[in-house]
């Protein structure tokens, strides 16, 4: 009552488990006191649906909880006349009748332990003259009524379960197979020799298909080999001619497709799905259709004439903060598209002569200048003038 709930004794190794007897006695005594008063007859074992029926259908577990009676015992009559609103509401829910019944403390304890805690409401006082009227009137009726209802439900459940078992046994259902109810085997009939001719014909067809498949595979291989042989035996010029023809044919096919609009989004569904030859022709046509020429309805005809700000792939992002300034890879790239990649960059390329490293002298060719400076320029050939500047060239002239 006011004592704390008894926790289960914990196992401590080395210590013998002692059940505390005095606490048990106390609670028993209190129970007996309450139960000394005349009480409704204890419920019979049969009124409570057996475990079997309760455990019938796990899928209907939720429903069953509700139908099973909330209280195994009928409520006890209390001498003091106090009615707790919680219990009265419980009774109404369960039996639909009495309000004057109070459970024993033990049961209250039990229910509060086992079931989710109901909000405890303020007890209301019923004076003595009114107490027995209500309780007596409704108690027995309510109890009997409840019992009958419970019994009927239990019987029904039991009957349903038995029927189901019988049906299952008759159908040979396996205990491990829950899905036998959802998708019964009988959807597909595998009895043979229903129609001998038809079956034989069907088998012949299948066998023929297999044979044809095998033969086709062999032929395909043969063709490959022939093709290889043929190309080997051709001269170079013939090969080139054939290649040119093939390429021009490809181009023709390519021209038939629409040209990609300026900055159109390109969608390629991936190489994994290419060449899936088991699909219908329709499906293949749909999957391989040409998207380059596709236009949206309200898309600008040609993005090239738009101002730079509006040249974006996804026009929904226009004007929004979340739009990035990134346009496309080519415009953002700072490189020169691979031109720089192959060249071996010498160290002293962009540098002034003064700052070039010393060992950068043209290896393997004519050596670099040993001497730098104006005076170290190699002396070239004198230019001989035609007129007589040679003899008198540097003479002082006083003409």
């Amino acid at each position: 009552m006011t004592k704390n709930r008894q926790q289960p004794t914990r196992y401590r190794p080395g210590k013998a488990e002692i059940d505390e007897p005095h606490s048990e006695d106390e609670s028993e005594e209190s129970e007996e006191e309450l139960e000394a008063a005349p009480r409704a007859p204890a419920p019979k074992a049969s009124s409570f649906p057996s475990q079997r029926t309760l455990a019938v259908d796990l899928s209907k577990a939720g429903q069953q909880r509700d139908t099973a009676p909330a209280k195994p015992k009928p409520p006890e009559v209390d001498l003091e006349g106090f009615v707790t609103a919680s219990e009265s509401s419980e009774d109404e829910a369960g039996d639909g009748s009495s309000e004057g019944e109070v459970e024993s403390s033990a049961e209250e304890e039990e229910s509060s332990d086992d079931e989710p805690k109901k909000p405890m409401l303020r007890p209301t006082f019923i004076p003595k003259n009114r107490r027995t009227q209500q309780t007596a009137a409704t108690a027995t009726d309510g109890a009997a009524e409840a019992e009958r209802v419970r019994k009927a439900k239990a019987d029904e459940l039991l009957r349903a379960q038995l029927e189901r078992d019988a049906a299952a046994k008759a159908a040979g259902r396996k205990a491990w197979d829950d899905d036998a109810e959802i998708a019964p085997e009988d959807e597909v009939d595998d009895t043979d020799d229903l129609d001998l001719e038809a079956e034989r014909a069907a088998w012949k067809l299948r066998e023929l298909k297999r044979v044809r498949r095998d033969r086709a595979a062999i032929e395909e291989k043969e063709k490959e080999r022939e093709e290889i042989e043929r190309r080997r035996n051709m001269t170079d010029s013939e090969r080139e001619a054939e290649d040119a023809a093939f390429i021009s044919q490809q181009k023709e096919e390519g021209e038939g497709k629409g040209k990609m609009a300026f900055m159109q989004k390109y969608f390629h569904k991936g190489a994994f799905f290419a060449g899936d030859s088991e699909q219908d022709a329709e499906v293949q046509a749909v999957l391989n259709r040409d998207l380059a020429g596709a236009r949206f309805e309200d898309e600008a005809g040609d993005k090239a004439v738009l101002p730079e700000y509006m040249k974006i792939r996804d026009m929904t992002k226009l004007g929004k903060t979340g739009r990035t300034k990134y346009k496309d890879l080519k415009s953002e790239d700072t490189g020169r598209w691979g031109m720089d990649a192959g060249r071996k960059r010498r160290e002293g390329d962009g540098l002034d002569d003064r700052f070039r490293p010393d060992d950068e002298r043209g290896f393997g060719g004519a050596g670099g200048r040993e001497q730098t400076g104006a005076n170290s320029m190699p002396v070239g050939e004198r230019k001989r003038r035609e007129d007589e500047g040679g003899r008198d060239g540097k003479r002082a002239r006083y003409d």
């Binding site: 085997e185 597909v188 595998d190 043979d192 066998e207």
Partner: protein, 240 residues
């Protein structure tokens, strides 16, 4: 071979010392996911405990459908569980051939054929053993992912020989028949149609020109797509 009722040792990959198939624990022919589903299923726990070849025969005669895994939770079929048990037991060739020769029980035959394709390592043996059953035209019920399908024994055997993935298992690679024929290990398949086929050939050769027949053949090739040198791998999801 010591027979353990529980055969847990076979499932434990670490210390496996039994027969090896394709160089590894036979149970590894099934993928980990499928193995887990099988071992957790009720059928395995109830019916496949402590089986030997004889009691497995009893279970197999009770089979009523083939299939891999089905449903949202990838539930394994009893067929698959028994195949797994066969892999665990790795019975001898005679026993398997005995299973195959049973005319009366077609699902037992299907089970044995499945095992032959999985377990036997010599390609020629696989082809030679399974090809006679391309003449068995009985119906088989097959559990697919959602519901049921109808197939035939010869269709199933053909799938085993040609496809890459059957009944939730990736079949071990086997050389295509063409390769083996070229190497000389096998001879060309003599179809069960036999004489009728020859008659049909004569008819078609007489009436139409050869070119037309070839065109028809090549049209079939486009549909098939995988004739040259690789096992046609059908990426089937678990149900098939």
């Amino acid at each position: 071979m010591v027979h353990h009722a529980d055969a847990k040792k076979a499932l434990d990959e670490r210390g496996y010392t039994g027969t090896l198939l394709h160089g590894d624990n036979p149970l590894k022919l099934f993928e980990k996911a499928v193995r887990d589903r099988i071992v957790d299923s009720y059928y395995w726990k109830e019916q496949c405990f402590g089986l030997n070849a004889a009691t497995l025969l009893d279970r197999a005669t009770d089979l009523s459908f083939i299939g891999g895994t089905y449903g949202v939770a990838q539930k394994p079929t009893p067929f698959l569980c028994l195949a797994f048990k066969l892999l665990q037991l790795t019975p001898s060739k005679d026993i398997i051939l005995f299973y195959l020769h049973q005319e009366e029980f077609k699902y037992l035959r299907a089970l044995a054929a499945f095992y032959v394709r999985l377990a036997w390592e010599k390609d020629e043996e696989v082809y030679k053993t399974l090809e006679p059953y391309l003449a068995d035209r009985r119906k088989l019920r097959r559990r697919v992912r959602e519901g049921w399908a109808l197939t035939y024994v010869d269709d199933f055997v053909d799938d085993l020989l040609v496809k890459g993935r059957v009944c939730a298992t990736t079949l071990p690679k086997v050389n295509p028949r063409g390769f083996l024929e070229d190497e000389g290990k096998l001879e060309e398949r003599v179809s069960a149609l036999g004489e009728e086929l020859e008659e049909m050939d004569e008819d078609s050769g007489g009436d139409e020109s050869e070119g037309e027949v070839e065109e028809v053949g090549s049209a079939m090739v486009v549909g098939r797509g995988g004739g040259d040198g690789e096992v046609v791998s059908d990426e089937e999801m678990s149900g098939d």
